[in-house]
Symmetry: C2
Subunit: 278 residues, 2 copies
């Protein structure tokens, strides 16, 4: 980012970590300490070795504890379902606010205060200012993690970012991010999306990221922000001092790499790793 | 931890991060990306400077966005309340499971399978094994963060740890951890507690840790696990070669330091820091 852009970023809008998904920073730090529970051990072979020395009475008690844990897990599954429903309910309640925000930001709808404002002399210059230019760039730049993803070369494209929204999956913990763009010189897509397919926490006790998909961007000619073309001097084969200049295209850092489809490690890969270690 | 203890720790029980507080690891990683919202800026002075250059129409639109955000915050507050209620409801539903677990672990109640077991010859040795010895030590040692807090000197005291439980505050996001001990040679307290006073997330948009309190442990004579007494040779003042041996008591690493009351930085301290930086 340029200094000017950096100086601009510290006001007006920011990404809000408290987003209605039930995530709270303090929870994350304290949750692990907060409650302690017996967990089913999946490494049964190892366990058998280790437990072989325990008195039989103790083993029978451990077995009872395991059954107790299974019964509690069923109740926890109900909790996860209710929590999910609550989150979906509020996600729907937030939509009218997001919709109105998008209208104001893009200028699709004017706010009353502007309409009521009497036309004064200086206003002539402002005729063309529609909505809130740069709103989303500022919002994203105010988030430390996102700010690092945005590079100077991306800034011109962000002028055309009209709205960003997220939609949770109804059936699991996944969600889909949508970036809406207006007509722009960079790509022809109207929306760029990134979707996270996240398993149901109640199944395995822990939500697992199963898959991530992104939009393939249809870049306009020579406008690909994720690539740079370098001119390289190349010496001709066997030639003495003769050389020619060729172009070489390489991937480069850009926010738009965010949409590049991610390859997830397969279960087979996991097994390979395991085999290599054993 | 000794090697033996370390070898014992990898089975049977473990601390469960998925504890019904709505915390999920994946949420933590993705929540910040998931939804983007306008946030009220508290640094009004800076903001005024930065916004002075914006056209008046845009300022009026930003004002409308701010009001929209405030209206949404009220709905979010309702969400936080409902979520809290849901968590409390399930915390209550989990209690019978925790209660039964404590009974089995401490041996307060025998499990049916043991009672039904016919008495065989080898059982004579087992007569005295009550409940599940070392259950909580194993549970805590299976958690990477907690394992680092537990030192070899603490192990003997953990034999007397009968139960660990957590209770959420009804009115805010705080909670209280209680460690129940049976009669032991180390301290006279029956319970050691640590309480986290955590603000309501709906007030400021972010849960804030306001205060942490811990139990002052009544150590029995010479049994304080949080202190070591060292013998130090001390040369007499002005004496030539004369010296005496004195005892010096120093704090040392122990799990039980966990209960040492924490001094929270006051708001005045915050101001001092701010003044130092400006």
């Amino acid at each position: 980012m340029s200094d000017k852009a950096a100086a601009e970023q510290d006001t007006v809008v920011e990404v809000d970590a408290n987003d209605g998904r039930g995530f709270q920073p303090v929870d994350a730090a304290t949750a692990q300490l907060a409650q302690l529970a017996v967990a089913e051990d999946t490494q049964e072979a190892e366990e058998d070795d280790d437990l072989a020395n325990l008195p039989k009475k103790v083993l029978l008690r451990l077995d009872a504890l395991r059954k107790l844990q299974e019964a509690q897990a069923e109740v926890e599954e109900e909790f996860e379902k209710e929590r999910k429903q609550l989150e979906l309910k509020y996600e729907k309640l937030y939509q009218p606010f997001y919709h109105q925000r998008a209208e104001i930001v893009t200028g699709a709808k004017e706010v009353d205060a502007v309409s009521a404002e009497p036309q004064t002399e200086g206003d002539a210059d402002e005729e063309d200012v529609k909505g809130v230019p740069g709103f989303w760039l500022r919002a994203l730049m105010n988030h430390s993690v996102l700010a690092d993803l945005i590079h100077e070369r991306d800034l011109a494209a962000f002028e055309f970012l009209a709205d960003v929204h997220s939609a949770s999956h109804e059936e699991d913990n996944g969600f889909k991010l949508t970036f809406e763009f207006s007509e722009n010189p960079f790509f022809t897509n109207k929306t760029l999306t990134k979707e996270y397919d996240i398993g149901d926490a109640s199944e395995s006790g822990e939500a697992v990221l199963r898959n991530v998909t992104g939009t393939v961007i249809d870049w306009k000619e020579s406008q690909n922000l994720c690539e740079v073309t370098k001119k390289v001097k190349q010496r001709a084969k066997g030639g003495k001092g003769e050389s020619r200049v060729i172009s070489r295209t390489e991937p480069c850092d850009s926010f738009f790499q965010f949409f590049t489809p991610v390859e997830m490690p397969s279960e087979e890969d996991d097994e390979d790793v395991r085999a290599a270690w054993s």
